[in-house]
């Protein structure tokens, strides 16, 4: 009887444990995995007479991958995302450095608090705001004109796109960099100073290598966000040439070419996976051997 009791209790435990897992598994299977797998399958469907038919053919793949437009968009998107990653990481670093080493813990906490806020506010409205600010006759140009400069064309250029990407990614990159820099033990930096390292040598030889993982992860997030964004290249960059995200929208919204849009989406995912895995591998590589 005693054993029965414990057995019952044990089974009770298991039900209890499983119940907490069910909501997530059920929801994500139906509304996350389902859509993604279906999208991969959809890239093999065929469209005839504006109607999509389930099939397993490579028509859309051949159509998309055989086109210059696709590869132009692919190259351009990659270029934009890489530029954004490099530029935003470089802009963020001095700020993260200052927040990590030149301010008190209270100021740092408040700074991070403030940086979290924009991440949850409307990105779309912020981009529209930039659109007005950077316009040919907008505030920036009229202030510059006051000093006899300009007017500069900032909209529909790569500069505009970069401003948009920075709006999206800079807060997150500064946060991630600050956290990884603040985790460095100050004694290493003091040791470097005592051994005669100047500020730049300390950054180069001590700080960057020690914070490498965090810096790479921050850059990775910047890349992922920039690579998938359509708002900045569309509204601030003028979408000429279109990026992959814009290509998905155009292909989906005009006509019923969902399978072709799915091909673009799958190519984007493959690229992101490759970049993500290689940068994570790079970020953690040297740690073990040290």
């Amino acid at each position: 009887m005693g054993t029965k009791e414990t057995e019952k209790k044990k089974r009770g435990f298991e039900t209890f444990a499983v119940v907490w897992r069910v909501p997530l598994i059920a929801w994500q299977t139906v509304f996350f995995l389902g859509p993604l797998l279906f999208m991969v399958a959809m890239s093999f469907f065929v469209v005839k007479n504006y109607r999509m038919r389930e099939a397993f053919e490579f028509v859309s793949w051949a159509k998309m991958l055989g086109r210059h437009t696709f590869w132009d968009a692919y190259g351009y998107t990659l270029l934009l995302a890489v530029c954004s990653t490099v530029i935003v990481s470089l802009i963020a670093f001095p700020a993260a450095y200052a927040l990590a080493f030149k301010t008190s813990a209270t100021v740092r906490r408040w700074a991070i608090f403030l940086l979290v806020v924009p991440f949850f506010t409307s990105y779309l409205v912020r981009i529209f705001s930039w659109y007005v600010v950077l316009a040919e006759s907008g505030p920036v140009n009229s202030v510059l004109g006051f000093f006899g400069l300009g007017p500069f064309t900032m909209l529909n250029t790569m500069f505009g796109t970069m401003v948009g990407y920075a709006t999206l990614t800079l807060p997150l990159v500064v946060i991630l960099q600050t956290v990884s820099l603040a985790n460095i033990d100050n004694r290493f930096i003091e040791a470097a100073h005592n051994l005669g390292c100047g500020a730049f040598r300390t950054i180069h030889a001590v700080i960057v290598p020690m914070a490498k993982t965090g810096l790479v992860i921050a850059a990775l997030f910047c890349f992922i966000l920039s690579f998938g964004d359509f708002v900045s290249p569309y509204y601030l960059g003028g979408s000429k040439p279109p990026t992959l995200a814009i290509l998905i929208i155009d292909t989906t919204k005009s006509g019923q070419q969902w399978p072709r849009a799915a091909v673009v989406a799958v190519m984007m995912m493959l690229t992101l996976f490759t970049v993500a895995f290689s940068s994570i591998w790079y970020a953690y590589r040297k740690r073990g051997s040290r």
Binding site: A17, P35, M39, P118, M268
Partner: protein
Amino acid sequence: MSGRDALTTWVLRFYVVLVFGFIFMPIVASVIFSFNSQRFPTVPLGSFTTEWYTAILNDPDIWEAARTSILVSLSTSVLATFIGFCTAYTDYRFKFRYKYGFLALALLPPTIPLIIMALAMLAWFAKIGISGQVWSIIAAHTVLTIPFAMAIIRLRLNEMDESLEAAAWNLGASEWRAVKEVIIPFAKPAIISSMCLTAAVSFDEFAVAWFVSGLNKTIPVVILEIVTGNIDPQVNAIGSFVFLVSMTLVVLAQILFMTKGKRRTVTP
């Protein structure tokens, strides 16, 4: 040497201020433009006006969109927080096979570009026959916000003394009762802050909502459509309202989350 150090420190601090200026510029500018009479704002500014606000307040489409947005973000916040809580508790309490897979299921959505999620969900909802409904937006937004809910509640549970739950069992409480009387009260600030944050994310999300919403447009979708047309300062007025809503939610969430003072005062 120390003089140079002090100078570097001040230069760096000034640089931080510049970076923050860049980050908050669009938000501040949008609020200023919303009260500015010029259709194409520039410097010097035009006169003070509330005409853009009057315009949006008299627009029935905006009211309709606001109702949809509120319904969507409230439902999303409840659903995502519930699922996030279950997931966080599972991660906190149990070890099991495939746990990494389980956690990946919860945490992966933010790493996939929204436009891809939008296309995938549009096609999937059409396939299973629930496309173009308010429920489709809610289902999609819940997927996108579960990771935030899970992370916030998980961090809070991290601070809990593990023996508290065990103590409740020893005092004769069933596992269910222990969750109800010990875990939930302890996690309550995180639960509320998770509801605020997930509501904020849902309230601002436009890509997925644009693809799956059909005729049930949310506020960001309306903004997207206006912006695609031309420059219309109404957007600044709607935008300022949207900023106000989401920033209130985010600040509330952070304040709740940061109140750790009452850590140990969980009443049994």
